[in-house]
Symmetry: C2
Subunit: 207 residues, 2 copies
């Protein structure tokens, strides 16, 4: 089985991975402005230091990606049609197979640039098995959102997790660390390393 890795998963200092009222024009909801500020220099092609290294690490040796349905789009419940094709336009940045966990499967969706979205109603272990095969010997990245990462953490399927703590407060929203009582039995914090944007990088690995 491929190694399953979480990268660049960012939390506010008060523990929220997303704010309130996630929607089409605010994919991470309200109250989390600046959450991904630490990546902005990398997006501009001017990244340096720990922030840029963490940004780059997220695409090293990755052959497939798993995401939750809300990370694919803002639509909840049954798809009204197949016109929603993801947040990223016609050329998503993945360039490989992306497995979207959903209770509402639909036909696979090949996009430009080598990305194909596959829609599965399956357990975390089942989707990891499929993604492992698609990755062809490389690792699998677990993208998010919080509920999806939690589901894989709860089953001990995540091999390593890179978190970022952003220097902001959200007050309310969606937590990553919720109902993960058994987490410390399987995982430990390897390091907390400062970034260049007032943020901190954390690496969580298996015990």
């Amino acid at each position: 089985m491929a190694r399953l890795r979480v990268h660049a998963f960012t939390l506010t200092l008060d523990g929220f991975a997303a704010g309130t009222d996630q929607r089409a024009d605010a994919p991470f909801g309200d109250g989390v402005d600046g959450l991904h500020e630490w990546m902005s220099a990398s997006f501009r092609g001017e990244g340096t230091g720990a922030d840029h290294a963490a940004f780059l690490a997220g695409s090293e040796n990755i052959g497939a990606t798993i995401i939750g349905r809300n990370m694919f789009g803002p639509i909840r419940g049954a798809w009204p049609d197949e016109s929603w094709r993801g947040w990223w336009g016609e050329t998503p940045p993945y360039g490989h197979d992306v497995f979207v966990l959903t209770h509402h499967p639909r036909p696979s969706l090949p996009m430009d640039g080598g990305t194909t979205f596959h829609f599965l109603e399956a357990t975390p272990a089942e989707v990891l098995a499929q993604a492992s095969e698609a990755a062809g010997g490389a690792d699998v990245r677990l993208g998010g959102g919080a509920a999806t990462v939690r589901a894989f953490l709860a089953e001990g399927l995540v091999d390593e997790m890179h978190l970022v703590i952003a220097p902001i407060l959200a007050g309310a929203g969606e937590r990553l660390f919720e109902g993960l009582d058994a987490l410390p039995a399987g995982y430990r914090v390897e390091a907390l390393v400062p970034g260049e944007s007032g943020n901190v990088h954390a690496r969580i690995v298996r015990r």
Copy 2:
């Protein structure tokens, strides 16, 4: 009114200020071993750097302290008698008036070394007014635990808060950031600064 300051309030990376089953022989409960490791060099008289500076800042210009009842001791509900005199022995490290919030008031308790414990059933604003007067022009420190800090944060009474994030996972326990939806309206994160023990210091100040 005196400035109200929180210092050295330590959370696990997953957001817990205390673990499960807080009790006499484990005041912070289970699952949080190493939570206060960042202070151990200071306690040994060998503190350096950001950790030691943060440790020392907590007693600078403090004239009175406010704590919750659970930070005074492990007894819940009515006092069976007055034999419990705090976690700290006959010479507590405060050296000034300490106001203990409790639904079960008892007579004030003068200890050696200048500490007197006062037991009040009062609102956060009322106890802050009393502690301010006792502080005689200096600041008041808000000690904890989490429920007590939350109560003062919710009313906007805290002027600054120094948090520490320890590189450990607890999985379960008592959170600081819970039900504080309005926090971002009143406060912002000033800085995240690495310590010497794999930890991070955060300063939260008024907007």
